[in-house]
Structure formats: structure tokens, C-alpha cells
């Protein structure tokens, strides 16, 4: 087990290296001369030259990548072209709202979607099942920003129950924090809930057919123990896998959600950086998101052993 963990952690290093190379290349994959693009329409040729030199564009590509990568390893993501602040500082300032949003969405989505899928499977073919499946289709097909605006309109503008937008740091209290985040989390969680509920239902339908479920009934186990202990534990591996893969959806969705609800998080930072062509910031944020994604999936791989004793590393 320990050897496996070490091996898996080591295996993420080349993955992260490739991600870094890709992120670094973003600047050069973008159409046009990056220096000219950054400098903008009003720039003189001198300005462009200056920017080119400051970006180090006059030196060979791989050398620059090497230097950049070495700095990243030391935790230095460079300076923002726009604010001249270190990218790490800018990320640190913006990370709490995004992290809060993602964690709340994750908790909300799992605690709604899993029971939904379980109950739909149990009541297969009934109205409840169809309602859940209908909701899942809806969750997939309605874009995050539409859900976001509709929720904000109903609960914030019309009913005035919740703030329309903004963010309150956790340090200022759980309730205000939650009040600001609940609508964004629901908006962001829609697709994710749909995805988890569907896979839960499908896996549970299969598990409920198994002989050991009949054994559990023959032992006198009650319905909730059959569903949530005997069956769900057997269905856990595919469900957890989808939860992990779905983190990518959350990351993408967070960017949109933060714009809709004016949350000063990494998503907003990313959008602003893209609009300003602030490449070091873009690179830093993308690198961070990729890193989180790889780590989450590593954690999920390791979590399999908790659910299924047949999986041994």
C-alpha cells in the first residue's frame, strides 16, 4: 500500500511536467506575436521590444521553459504584467472564495445527488424515479449562468431572502458566508448533481440485482440498511470516480459562476487576466487548477481501498 502511494505520487510528476509545458506554451500557442498582443494597439515598436525582452522572448524556447519551470518549483510564478504583483500573492488573495464555493458545492452536490440516485434506483420506474431522471436531464441541459441568474432573480431580487452577489469571508461568520454562497453553489452544482445522481442510479440498479442483496433481506435488514449499507458500499467505486472526474466541471463552472455572482475569486481573476492578456496570471491559475485536479484524482484512486477490500495496491 505505502509503496503504491509513493509510486502513484511519483507518477504524477511527469503528468504535472507535461501540464506545465502546456501551460507555458499557452502564451505561444495564442495567435500573433505575444509581445505585440500584450502591448496592445497603441504601442510603439519600442514598447513591443521592451515587452519582448521583459518576457524573455528573445531567448530560445526550451531555455525559457527550463528557467520558468525551475522558478515554479521554488514557488515563484512570476509577476503580473498588469499589476506588477507576484502571481502567487494575487492567487492567495483570491483563493478563499473559490475554495469555499467549490467545497460547499461538493458537499451540497454529493449529499443531494447520492440519496437521489439511490432512491430513484430503489423506486425504479415510478414517478419518483422519473422525476429524478427528469431533473438530471434538466441539470445537464441548462447552462450554469441561466440557473444562476434565475436563482438570483427569484431568491435575491424578488423574495429578498439572500444577497444578490458578492462574498463574505468565512472569518466573518458561517451564516453570512453561507448566505452569499448558497445560490452560487446551487447554480454551479446543477450539472454535477445530475451527473452523480445518474451514475448512482445506474450502479445501484445493477447492485440491487445481486444475490447478496437477497441475503441481506433474508437476514431481516431494513430497507435503508439494504440501500445505504449493503448496496451503496458496493456501488461506491464508480460513484466516487465520477465525483473525481466531475471536479473538472466544477472548475470550469466556477469561472462562470463567479462572474454571475460577482464573487472575487480565482474565476474572476482568470477572466480578468484573460481580458488583459496577463499571461503570467493565466499560467499560474491554470497550473494551480491542473494541480488540484491531479491531486483530487490521486486521492480518489487511493480512496477506492476504503470502499472495496478487493482492490489492493
Amino acid at each position: 500500500m505505502f509503496a503504491y502511494v509513493v509510486r502513484r505520487v511519483l507518477a504524477t510528476i511527469p503528468v504535472m511536467g507535461l501540464v506545465a509545458l502546456f501551460v507555458f506554451s499557452l502564451l505561444y500557442l495564442a495567435p500573433g506575436d505575444p509581445a505585440a498582443v500584450i502591448a496592445g494597439d497603441q504601442a510603439t515598436p519600442q514598447d513591443v521590444e521592451r515587452i519582448r525582452a521583459s518576457l524573455g522572448l528573445d531567448r530560445p524556447y526550451l531555455v525559457r521553459f527550463g528557467e520558468w519551470f525551475f522558478r515554479i518549483l521554488q514557488g515563484d510564478l512570476g509577476l503580473s504584467i498588469f499589476t506588477n504583483l507576484p502571481v502567487t500573492t494575487m492567487i492567495a488573495q483570491r483563493i478563499e472564495p473559490t475554495l469555499s464555493l467549490m467545497i460547499l458545492t461538493l458537499i451540497l452536490a454529493i449529499s443531494i445527488a447520492v440519496p437521489m440516485g439511490v432512491i430513484a434506483a430503489w423506486k425504479q420506474g415510478t414517478l419518483i424515479d422519473r422525476a429524478v431522471m427528469g431533473f438530471a436531464v434538466l441539470g445537464f441541459s441548462v447552462p450554469v449562468f441561466v440557473v444562476g441568474y434565475v436563482l438570483a432573480y427569484i431568491f435575491a431580487l424578488e423574495l429578498d431572502w439572500l444577497p444578490v452577489q458578492g462574498y463574505t469571508p468565512f472569518a466573518r461568520g458561517f451564516v453570512p458566508w453561507l448566505q452569499n454562497l448558497i445560490l452560487p453553489a446551487i447554480a454551479l452544482g446543477g450539472v454535477y448533481i445530475a451527473l452523480i445522481a445518474r451514475i448512482t442510479r445506474a450502479t445501484m440498479l445493477e447492485v440491487l440485482q445481486q444475490d447478496y442483496i437477497r441475503t441481506a433481506r433474508a437476514k431481516g435488514a431494513n430497507q435503508s440498511s439494504i440501500l445505504f449499507l449493503h448496496a451503496l458500499k458496493n456501488a461506491a467505486v464508480p460513484i466516487v470516480t465520477v465525483i473525481g472526474i466531475g471536479i473538472a466541471l466544477l472548475i470550469g463552472g466556477a469561472v462562470v459562476t463567479e462572474s454571475v455572482f460577482a464573487i472575487p475569486g480565482l474565476g474572476r481573476l482568470t477572466v480578468d487576466a484573460i481580458l488583459r492578456r496577463d499571461y503570467p496570471v493565466i499560467q499560474g491559475v491554470v497550473l494551480l487548477f491542473s494541480f488540484v485536479y491531479v491531486l483530487v484524482n490521486l486521492a480518489i484512486d487511493l480512496a477506492y481501498t476504503l470502499f472495496d477490500p478487493r482492490i489492493r495496491y
Partner: protein, 331 residues
């Protein structure tokens, strides 16, 4: 006469399928006395497992529908609420299934699976349940029980899994144990071991057993009374000695066809039910005459028109055949 432990009257379990009603069990009556071992034999698909599962109400409804009455200690199980039924399952009546490889939950350890019934029905703590689980493993003859109890099904052989199933079934000292072909899926040598274990435990635990099997050798060794099923109906019932000596129904005679006489070696595979030419009729059509008529060498027009009633052909020996006289039909 005092009331038997289990009294099944006119049990009917039908399945509503897209292509018609499957009359898997069609009006069966029998009883099981306290501590008695009754075997149910019959070809594949004749409704043995459905009968067994109906007794614990484990049939999915729909598509299934159970009718009749199943009196256990005087209470009709078919009239109990689901909650009352749960208190009986695994406690007063327990069941061992045909498929030891798949009947245990792969993600729960042995302690948890044996302990579950103890915690549910006897309110034991997790700790007490584990101790009792170790005790049960010792009882069913699993070596190193303290280690095995922490293992998962995939770490156990088929024979050991069936022993664990038996341990689960017996943990709460049930009054009735339903064993649905407990040895069919196992190797021959393991079959003999499991059978020995069941016989041994029967004497120690004192539970009544309904034993469903294909294997007439098993019947001869373990059972006191035998019920022969055909196409969802009981066609013959007798004490085991009488049935082997003088089978009354042509179907039973066919089953016994090549089986050595009682008293000669009755273990092993050669005592499996003999092949009877022809096929079990579809259970989806209502049959007017005798259900066995289409395969019976003695069948007449009467058999094809009128279903024979179960008749007592000798004391304690009933058969459903127009031509089964007070003595055995000459074969």
C-alpha cells in the same frame, strides 16, 4: 394433534411477465413439524426456489404475487406487516442460498455479516456480535476463526463461504432453516463436508429444516419426509423410506429411475435425479389435465382431461395420480 411449526396452505406464487402469467408455484400445501427435516425435490424450474423464497416473502412484488397462507407458529406470514416480517427473517426463519460464491456481500467482512443478524435481532453491540461471530465460525468448522472473521468473502473458498452462510443462518437459533440446494454449487468432496456439517448441526441446534435439492442421495441421508414437486405443484409426499421403496407417482418413479436402492451407497453424483424424457410444460399456460400427462408413459385421455387430486395412497403417503393404486404401480 398439536399444530405443526409451519403449515403452508394452497401457496400460489405467480409472476406477471410480459408474455403471460408464470404460475411458478401453483397451490402447494405442506407442513413441517418442529425439528423435522423435509426435503423438496424436483427438476430445475419446477418452483422449488420460488417456494422457499415465498416462505420468507422474498419474492419481488410485482412482478410476483403470493397467495394462500403460510402459518408459522400459528401466525400467517402473508398477513404480517413488512416490519413484523423483518423480525422473523434471519431470526426465527433463516435461509441458505444456492449460490455461495455470490450470496455474501463482497465489501463487508465476515464479522460484520454474521454479526448483522445478532445486532438486528438480539441487540448485541458490535463487540459482542464479533465474539459471537467467532463462536459461530468455530461451530461451522472454520479453522482460525479469530483471523477469518476479519476477512472478506473473496479471501474464502466456496466451501468456506457456504459455511459462513450457515453460520449466518444459525446465529440467532432459528426454529426453521430453509436450505435451497446448499451443496449444488460446490465440489463433490466439499458437498459431503457441508452435508455432514448440516446433519451434525441439525442435531445440535434442533432447528426444523426445509431442504431443497436435486440430489436424492442427500435426501436419503438427511430428510425424514419428502415432497416431490412438478411444474409448480406437489405431486407426491411420503416418509423418505416409503418414497424410495414404493414411489407412487410415475414422475417420482422416473426421478428414482436409475437410483440404487436405499441402503446401498447413496453419496456422490450418480444419485442425481434421473433424466426423464420430454420437457416440463410451460407454466404460463393453464393446464386442464394432469401436469405430467405430456411426459407420462401411462397417461390416458382421463389424465389429459381431468387433473388428479392428491389422494392418500397409503398412510402418510399422498400422490396426485389417477392410476396410482393403493400399492405401487408396476413399473
Amino acid at each position: 394433534m398439536s399444530e405443526p411449526l409451519l403449515q403452508v396452505e394452497q401457496l400460489q406464487t405467480h409472476f406477471w411477465t410480459p408474455d403471460g402469467i408464470n404460475r411458478a408455484v401453483d397451490g402447494i400445501s405442506f407442513h413441517v413439524g418442529a425439528g423435522e427435516t423435509v426435503a423438496i425435490v424436483g427438476e430445475s424450474g419446477c418452483g422449488k426456489s420460488v417456494t422457499a423464497m415465498s416462505m420468507l416473502r422474498l419474492i419481488p412484488e410485482p412482478p410476483g404475487k403470493i397467495a394462500g397462507s403460510i402459518k408459522f407458529q400459528g401466525k400467517d406470514l402473508l398477513k404480517l406487516s413488512e416490519k413484523e416480517m423483518r423480525a422473523i427473517r434471519g431470526n426465527e426463519i433463516s435461509m441458505i442460498f444456492q449460490e455461495p460464491m455470490t450470496s455474501l456481500n463482497p465489501v463487508l467482512n465476515v464479522a460484520r455479516q454474521i454479526g448483522e443478524t445478532l445486532r438486528l435481532h438480539q441487540g448485541l453491540s458490535a463487540r459482542q456480535a464479533e465474539d459471537k461471530a467467532i463462536e459461530m465460525l468455530t461451530l461451522v468448522g472454520i479453522p482460525e476463526p479469530a483471523r477469518r472473521v476479519r476477512e472478506y468473502p473473496h479471501q474464502l473458498s466456496g466451501g468456506m463461504r457456504q459455511r459462513v452462510m450457515i453460520a449466518i443462518a444459525l446465529a440467532c437459533n432459528p426454529k426453521l432453516l430453509i436450505a435451497d440446494e446448499p451443496t449444488t454449487a460446490l465440489d463433490v468432496t466439499i458437498q459431503a463436508q457441508i452435508l455432514d456439517l448440516m446433519r451434525d448441526l441439525k442435531h445440535r441446534v434442533g432447528a426444523a429444516i426445509v431442504l431443497i435439492t436435486h440430489d436424492l442421495g442427500v435426501v436419503a441421508e438427511v430428510a425424514e419426509r419428502v415432497i416431490v414437486m412438478y411444474a409448480g405443484k406437489k405431486v407426491e409426499e411420503a416418509q423418505v423410506g416409503a418414497l424410495f421403496r414404493t414411489p407412487r407417482h410415475p414422475y417420482t418413479q422416473g426421478l428414482l429411475g436409475s437410483v440404487p436402492k436405499l441402503g446401498s451407497s447413496l453419496t456422490g453424483t450418480e444419485t442425481r435425479l434421473a433424466e426423464i424424457p420430454g420437457l416440463v410444460p410451460s407454466l404460463k399456460r393453464k393446464i386442464d389435465g394432469c401436469v405430467f400427462a405430456s411426459r407420462c408413459a401411462y397417461a390416458t385421455d382421463l389424465c389429459r382431461k381431468l387433473a388428479p387430486a392428491l389422494e392418500e395412497k397409503a398412510p402418510g403417503h399422498v400422490a396426485a395420480c389417477h392410476y396410482a393404486m393403493k400399492e405401487a404401480i408396476a413399473a
